[in-house]
Subunit: 361 residues, 2 copies
C-alpha cells in the first residue's frame, strides 16, 4: 500500500521526550515500512524515519516557540502539500485532529483519523459536522458515541518490547511506583495516600506542567519526604524502564477517563503489575487478577497492594507483547487501511456500474 | 452568476464599528445581489445581508472573546461547509487570507482571493506556495510582486456615496482633521506637527489599540491641548462624515505603505481634500493638485496646507463617485469573476476535446 502518515508539527517524530502522538506515529510509520509498505511521513524536518519524509516545518514548533497563529499556518502549509500530491496515496492517515477534517472531505483517497487526545467543546462541533468520516479509537472507552462518530476500528497504541527490559523480580527493598504528569487527573496525590496507608515506599516521576504547578505545590510536594515518598523529577526512557521494572507494582489511581494508559502497558512489559482505578482504558489494558488489579477507589487500591504477590510477572509481559506491541498496532492499522480501500473500490465499482446503466438507457 | 462570498468571522457583516474587510464584503455582497446575481455569504449569524447567509459562528468572534485556537476551529467549520456545497457556485471569492489557500486548491470551482491586510513572514510562505491561485489587489501598490502572486486584477475598495453628505464649504472657524488608528504608521504625531507648524486647528479621531497604547501616551497625548489640538476618541459613521465634511483638509501623513487609504476616499467624497505623504495607495487615490496633495514629507505637507484653496471640493466628490464607489467596486469584481469563469470554461473545453481525441484513437 502507498500510505501517507500525517503527524503534528509540535514535536519531531519520534519526540526527544514527551509527545505521545509523535511516538505512536514513529512506531507505526517505521513498522509499516518494515512490512513492505511505501510510506510517506508528513512531519517536521528534524524527524527520524524509515519512510519518505515530507517536511512541514524546519523543526519542532514547540522548540521553535511559535505562537498558536503561526502554528496554524504551518498546519495549513502541510495540508497544502498533502492536497497537491494526495493522488499518490492509497490511504491517508491523519494524527492531527481538527485541521484535517475539512481537508479530508476534499480528498478522493480514503482518509482515516486517529484522535490521540481529548476534544474541547468547539472542536467537538467540527467533529460532529464530520461524523461520517472514518475514525479509529485508541481504546473502546475513548469512543465518542455521543458525537455519532463513524468508528472503523479500535487500534491500541503499541510499544516496542525490545526497548523495555523484563524484570522477573522486583528489587529489594521493595517499592511502589508512579509515573505520569503531576496533575490531579493522573492521581499522584492518591498514589501517595495508597503508599502512606500501606506503609510501602513510593518512587514517583513525571513532569509538572505550568497548569499543574499549584496542584503540585499544594497537594503533592508537601508530602514528599525523600525517604518513604521520593520524587525523581522527569525520567528518560532508560530511567523509566529501570525504575518501573524494579518496582513491585505501578499505581495508576486515575481520576479521569484516560483514552489510553501508556504507562500501564510500559509497566506490564517490564513485568510490573498495575494497580489502577478502573477509569477510561484501564479495564481494556489490565487483566484483573492476572496482570494487576482494577479497583473502584483508593480503598480497593490499598487492598490490592496486599494481593500483589498473586501476580505472575511473566504473564504481565506476555499480555503486552501479544496485545499492545508496535507489531500488533501495525497489524491493526493495516487491517483498517485494507477495509477502507476495499470499500472505496466497491463504491467506485457501483459508480461505474450505475454510469454504464445510464449510458445503456 | 452564483457567487459565494467568504468573510472573516471576527466581525459581523457589516461591522458595527471597525472592520474594514467586513465592510467591503457587505457592500460588495449587497451590490452583487442588486445587480441580479445569486449570492451566498459565509459570515457570522448576526450579519445583515441581502444575500443567502450561511452562518459560520453564532456572532462576531471578537465580541465572543474567543482564543486564536478557537478562532481557527470556527474558520475550519466555515471551510467545511463551503467544501460540502462548493459545486453550487460558479465562483468563490475569499476574503479570509491564509486559511483559504489550501482549500482553494481542492475546489473545482474558480476561486479568487482579495487580501485586505498585510502578510506576516510565515503567511507569506503559504502565499508563495500558492502563487498560481487567483488574487485581486486592492491597489496596485499593494501587489506583492516579490512573492510572484498571480494577480487577475486590481479592484479598489468602494464606499456608498449616499451615506456621506457633500459639504461644498468647510465650516468656520476652519480646521484640519485626522482620522485613523492612533499608531505610528498612520502618523497622528506628524498630523499634530503639521497643525502646530501652520497654526491651524486639528480635530483628531480614531481608536487606540493595545499595541499602540505606549505610542499614544508618549507621542500623541502630551500634545493634545483641547484647544488647538483636539482628540475626539472613536467616531461613528455619522460623526466621521460630519467632522470630515466640515474640515478644510484631511491629513494622512503616512509612514507605511497603506494597502488602501479608505479615509482618503471617505474624506474626498465629503468634499474635503486630502494632504497625504505619497506612500502606498495614496498616489492612486489622490489627484495631485485636483483632489488634494501628494507630499514627500512633513515639510511638503506644511506647504500644501497653504495651497488648499486651489482645490475644488466638488471635484473631490466626483472623483470618488466615479472611481471608488461601491458600484465601481461591484463592476470591477464582476469583470474578474467573468474572466475566471470564461477561463475555466475554456480549460474544460480543451479537456473535453483532448478526451474526445483520445477516445477517437
Amino acid at each position: 500500500m502507498r500510505i501517507a502518515q500525517v503527524a503534528p508539527l509540535w514535536e519531531c517524530v519520534p519526540p526527544p521526550a514527551y509527545g505521545g502522538t509523535e511516538l505512536v506515529v514513529s512506531r507505526l510509520t517505521d513498522g509499516l515500512v518494515k512490512c513492505g509498505h511505501e510510506v510517506t511521513l508528513f512531519a517536521t524536518a528534524d524527524s527520524q524515519t524509515l519512510a519518505n519524509l515530507i517536511p512541514g516545518a524546519p523543526s519542532s514548533l514547540r522548540v521553535a516557540g511559535v505562537t498558536p497563529s503561526e502554528y496554524q499556518v504551518y498546519d495549513l502549509m502541510q495540508m497544502n502539500r498533502l492536497i497537491e500530491q494526495s493522488d499518490q496515496y492509497d490511504v491517508i492517515h491523519f494524527h492531527v485532529d481538527a485541521i484535517a477534517l475539512p481537508f479530508a472531505n476534499a480528498m478522493k483517497v480514503p482518509c482515516v483519523h486517529t484522535v490521540h487526545g481529548i476534544l474541547n467543546p468547539i472542536v467537538e462541533k467540527l467533529f460532529a459536522q464530520n461524523k461520517h468520516q472514518n475514525f479509529v479509537s485508541i481504546s473502546n472507552s475513548q469512543r465518542r458515541t455521543d458525537l455519532g462518530l463513524n468508528y472503523v476500528g479500535t487500534v491500541y497504541n503499541g510499544i516496542d518490547p525490545e526497548t523495555y527490559v523484563f524484570h522477573p523480580q522486583p528489587s529489594d527493598p521493595p517499592y511502589l511506583t508512579f509515573f505520569g504528569r503531576m496533575s490531579p487527573e493522573k492521581g499522584p496525590h492518591l498514589a501517595i495516600e495508597i503508599a502512606k496507608r500501606t506503609g510501602w515506599h513510593l518512587r514517583m516521576a513525571g513532569k509538572v506542567d505550568r497548569a499543574d504547578k499549584e496542584f503540585f505545590a499544594t497537594q503533592v510536594e508537601p508530602l514528599i519526604d525523600g525517604e518513604q515518598i521520593v520524587y525523581l523529577g522527569e525520567a528518560n526512557h532508560a530511567q523509566k524502564s529501570e525504575i518501573m521494572g524494579n518496582a513491585v507494582a505501578t499505581l495508576c489511581p486515575l481520576t479521569w477517563r484516560e483514552p489510553f494508559g501508556l504507562v500501564m502497558t510500559e509497566s506490564m512489559i517490564c513485568g510490573t503489575p498495575v494497580i489502577a482505578i478502573a477509569q477510561g482504558s484501564a479495564p481494556e489494558l489490565i487483566l484483573h487478577g492476572k496482570t494487576g488489579f482494577l479497583c473502584k477507589d483508593v480503598d480497593e487500591c490499598v487492598a490490592a497492594v496486599g494481593r500483589i504477590g498473586e501476580i505472575d510477572r511473566r504473564t504481565c509481559r506476555d499480555h503486552v507483547v501479544q496485545n499492545f506491541s508496535a507489531a500488533a498496532m501495525v497489524q491493526g492499522y493495516e487491517a483498517v487501511y485494507q477495509q477502507l480501500i476495499a470499500r472505496k473500490v466497491q463504491q467506485n465499482g457501483h459508480l461505474r456500474q450505475s454510469r454504464a446503466i445510464v449510458g445503456a438507457v
